[in-house]
């Protein structure tokens, strides 16, 4: 991880466009019939070791324990999601995130996870787990409980 960081810090300083690609993460929610859901989108390596968070949908930290895989990896550290926190996502709605992601994340065994939780309903850690590959882009992946499908486009 640290090497990735160093490599990034070094190379992005020189050639930002070559190292970045704009990515859209689209999450469509099921009509699960409950309050707005909290979602944590984060990246792990192929062994499942946490690398960093991409987005936190839901602003109240007291509910973050319910995003159990994310919480176990981060201990709920707010520094992990500073500046990448937004509103929770209602049933049947769509969360669309646009961001510039490091090129090194693709075709290198990294996986994107989504933990979901809704009030008074069952927690759903790692509801979606997708490998980040150039081939996988644009292909919807179904969720288990709250998420109808998830797609990343670039």
């Amino acid at each position: 991880m640290k090497t990735l960081l160093y490599a990034l810090a070094l190379s992005t300083a020189l050639t930002v466009p070559a190292m970045a690609r704009p990515v859209t993460l689209t999450t469509n929610m099921n009509s699960y019939g409950g309050d707005g859901a909290y979602l944590a989108l984060y990246v792990t390596d192929a062994q499942g070791a946490y690398q960093g968070s991409l987005w936190m949908a839901g602003g109240k930290s007291k509910y973050y324990t319910h995003l159990s895989d994310w919480y176990r990896a981060t201990q709920g550290n707010p520094a992990e999601i500073n500046g990448i926190t937004g509103a929770s996502v209602g049933a049947g709605r769509q969360l669309k995130i646009t961001l510039d992601l490091a090129d090194a994340l693709f075709d290198a065994g990294y996986e994107l996870h989504i933990d979901v939780s809704a009030e008074d309903m069952r927690d759903s850690p790692s509801e979606v787990v997708v490998s980040l590959t150039t081939q996988g882009a644009g292909q919807p992946v179904p969720g288990r409980r709250y998420i109808r499908d998830f797609t990343y486009d670039m």
């Binding site: 930002v16 707005g36 992990e80 669309k96 009030e119």
Partner: protein
């Protein structure tokens, strides 16, 4: 010596538990033993005496929580001590700073992220993600 050691471990263990409990507890939690809880009907009666219309009574953070409308018809969420039925916390759902709503009603609000994303190596430095809920 061994006795001392065991006693010391026990005491520090207890102290550890105590501080953990403190760290986990919120200000607006109730800590009333189950045996001292008043029945739901008492909560209902108390709410009706205040002129509230009750939609739902549930338990949250060790308190009773009443959801409904007050006498003026405003949407309310009231936390009540289960032993004394004293009001612990009262929220109007049209308040901006309401604390206990996951966004069920207001789920389409704008993302609050304003500062830079964390330097976790995933984002390109200087770039900022954007999100919309539609």
């Amino acid at each position: 010596m061994k006795k001392y050691l065991i006693a010391a471990t026990f005491v520090t263990g207890l102290a550890g538990l105590g501080t953990m409990g403190m760290a986990l507890a919120d200000d607006d939690d109730c800590r009333v033993p189950m045996a001292d809880w008043q029945p739901r009907e008492a909560v209902q009666n108390m709410a009706e005496a205040q002129g509230w219309t009750v939609r739902r009574i549930k338990t949250d953070d060790g308190c009773y929580e009443i959801k409904g409308r007050d006498a003026q018809g405003r949407e309310i969420e009231v936390k009540v001590d289960p032993g004394t039925l004293a009001i612990v916390e009262m929220e109007y759902d049209d308040d901006d700073d309401d604390d206990d709503d996951r966004g069920g009603r207001d789920m389409n609000q704008k993302p609050t992220g304003t500062s830079q994303p964390p330097a976790n190596g995933l984002f390109v430095p200087g770039s900022k993600p954007g999100a919309v809920v539609q």
